[in-house]
């Protein structure tokens, strides 16, 4: 999978770096002076107790929130003020903690919308839906069907997603993000509220995406078992502060992390 623009980054090099980022809402400090990086090709987990600032961190990365301080460098370029669609064009896709699908549209159409930014034919062609416009539609449909096969959601293609069970919605949402062929995929608790089997399926999909497509993944997850199995490196936040950063094994042994998760008073 290739992002539309920017220099090629070799596997293992820094794809995105977050430097001294602070974000607050009025008086609430969501993220305080956090720095870490994400290397190309890795699965990077972001963990921490409730309210640690994990979602806020993702929102900063894809331009939804603007940090008061700090710097974000993506593919070697420091980023200025940007809108969420700039992140999309830059090759960043995400899923949401509370599924954010287009509820009135079918699963197929939801995944197809992920291709919007890759479709070029203008208004007049769309109006006629012939020749190049139809060819483009079919070409993207092929890619989307590949994703649908990959995620094993063939039989719910035509179902409006509002009627699907939660686990499948999460899968469709992953499909929509994959359809963007992102370079960096941000997953906010992709397994929240799932049973064991669904979690296993989803873990498999995440590993496969990482393997086959080489997509770099930043993953927020509460289930420590999943985090240990999936991720290459883990960054731990607590009350908006980074308290640990390293391999799953290192992090697991870290006293600050143990304290944070056991709820030791600060």
């Amino acid at each position: 999978m290739r992002a539309p623009s920017g220099p090629e980054i070799a596997v293992g090099d820094v794809l995105l770096s977050v430097e001294n980022v602070s974000l607050s809402f009025g008086g609430v400090k969501a993220v305080t002076d956090v720095s870490f990086d994400i290397r190309k090709g890795e699965i990077r987990a972001i963990i921490g107790p409730n309210g640690a600032g994990k979602t806020s961190m993702l929102n900063v990365i894809n331009g939804f929130y603007h940090p008061q301080q700090g710097r974000i460098t993506f593919k070697g370029k420091a980023r200025g003020h940007m809108r969420p669609y700039d992140a999309a064009y830059g090759g960043i896709a995400r899923t949401f903690q509370n599924v954010a699908l287009f509820r009135g549209m079918t699963a197929l159409d939801n995944v197809m919308t992920g291709r919007s930014l890759k479709m070029r034919r203008g208004f007049l062609w769309q109006l006629l839906r012939h020749g190049p416009a139809l060819a483009e539609e079919v070409e993207h449909r092929h890619r989307v069907e590949e994703i649908i096969d990959f995620l094993k959601i063939q039989d719910i293609r035509r179902v409006p997603v509002g009627r699907l069970p939660y686990g499948l919605q999460k899968r469709v949402e992953l499909g929509r993000a994959l359809a963007m062929e992102p370079e960096l995929l941000l997953l906010d608790e992709p397994m929240a509220g799932m049973n064991i089997e669904e979690k296993e399926d989803m873990s498999r999909f995440i590993l496969d995406v990482n393997d086959y497509y080489g997509t770099t993944i930043a993953l927020i997850e509460h289930d420590m078992g999943v985090v240990m199995d999936l991720s290459d490196r883990v960054v731990v936040l607590d009350h908006g502060i980074k308290i640990a950063d390293g391999t799953p094994d290192d992090v697991k042994k870290d006293q600050a992390v143990i304290d944070a998760y056991l709820g030791v008073a600060h």
Binding site: R83, R94, L101, R103, M105, T113, L117, Q126, E137, R141
Partner: protein, 358 residues
């Protein structure tokens, strides 16, 4: 039994996303077009054409326009009447300035003026949403209504303050003005509505339709997958108003023959909105069904009692119409927000599995 896709396999994605994927639907639409274009003009009475069919088609087009904006993009507009008016007055002025240009071309061109007005009055949608946006469109409705009354230039300083449609021909046959027959005007309206419905369905099935619906369902997620909200919303306003504008121009030039500012006031906006709600938000078919129901109901109420030799006063009919419509709207909002179009779909689904529903 008779309506099902058994044995009809779609082997390409193009065929899969075709407008009428099932053979029975294809036959159906050909039949409908045959009846509408050939049988009706040959057999129907002038009364049936001019007071039932033509207005239903005109209102259907306006309903499609509003549906693109409200049903597909989720932006509730109360300014439909105003945008129809922009189309009507623009067409009138164009016909005055360019008497040599074909009137059908002018009717279509007037849509562009309505589209421009739509973009202008759609600008607030970039900052405000929901209820507040509706109020903004309401304000645009009042502003436009004011213009239609207060700017005499728009109606060529006629003392009656109304538009009088001049006679214009197409291939030598009068299509507008007092000498044009109802059947001729009907065919022109039908042709325009058919083509524009087809174009709208093309838009809806493709990228643009998906971006509209994405913005309707969850604008934040839409933006995060690379959809530019301002472009998407303004395009919806432009296309929607274009449709309403053409409908407004047709209303005057191909149906009524003359019109005053009242034809394009807030009542018109609500009428079209009710058609969309009853027909079904987010359905082109629903736009036709809603227009047919709302326009047809009073006619039915007026004529049916006659068959039983009952006489009901005109005023009573009007009251009954209002009450029935009100009840229907509330009923649909509560019980079937997807309107008649959804009922039609459910019916089709039942037919597909008939006679063995399980």
């Amino acid at each position: 039994m008779f309506y099902r896709e058994a044995g009809q396999f779609k082997t390409t994605y193009a065929a899969d996303s075709a407008l009428f994927p099932i053979l029975q639907d294809k036959i159906g639409i050909v039949l409908i077009l045959f009846v509408a274009f050939i049988l009706v003009p040959l057999t129907a009475s002038d009364f049936a054409i001019d007071s039932i069919l033509t207005p239903i088609l005109v209102f259907s087009l306006a309903a499609i326009g509003l549906n693109l904006l409200t049903g597909y993009t989720g932006l509730l507009s109360l300014g439909t009447g105003g945008f129809m008016g922009v189309g009507a007055y623009a067409c009138y002025k164009l016909a005055t300035f360019f008497p040599g240009i074909n009137i059908v071309v002018l009717i279509i061109c007037s849509g562009f003026f309505a589209a421009a007005a739509g973009i202008l009055f759609g600008l607030p949608s970039l900052r405000i949403k929901g209820f507040y946006l509706s109020v903004a469109t309401l304000a645009s409705q009042f502003f436009l209504s004011w213009c239609f009354i207060r700017i005499p230039w728009l109606y060529n300083y006629n003392v009656s303050a109304s538009i009088e449609v001049p006679t214009r021909t197409l291939f030598g046959v009068p299509v507008t003005g007092p000498t044009a027959t109802p059947a001729t005007r009907y065919i022109v309206v039908l042709a325009i509505v058919s083509i524009m419905t087809w174009l709208a369905s093309n838009l809806i099935r493709g990228r643009i339709g998906r971006t509209w619906m994405a913005v309707r369902d969850m604008d934040i997620a839409a933006e995060l997958i690379g959809i530019k909200l301002y472009q998407t919303k303004l395009l919806a306003f432009a296309v929607s108003s274009f449709y309403c504008g053409v409908a407004g121009a047709m209303l005057v030039f191909l149906w009524l023959g003359n019109a005053e500012s009242e034809s394009f006031n807030i009542n018109q906006s609500f009428l079209i909105l009710f058609m969309v709600i009853i027909g079904g938000l987010g359905s082109l078919l629903g736009s036709f069904l809603g227009a047919a129901l709302i326009w047809g109901l009073p006619i039915v109420l007026r004529t049916v009692p006659g068959f039983f030799n009952l006489s009901i006063k005109a005023a009573t009919v009007e009251h009954i119409t209002f009450m029935t419509l009100g009840a229907l709207i509330i009923l649909f909002l509560i019980a079937e927000p997807n309107g008649l179009a959804r009922l039609w779909q459910i019916g089709k689904q039942k037919l597909r599995v008939w006679p063995f529903p399980y």
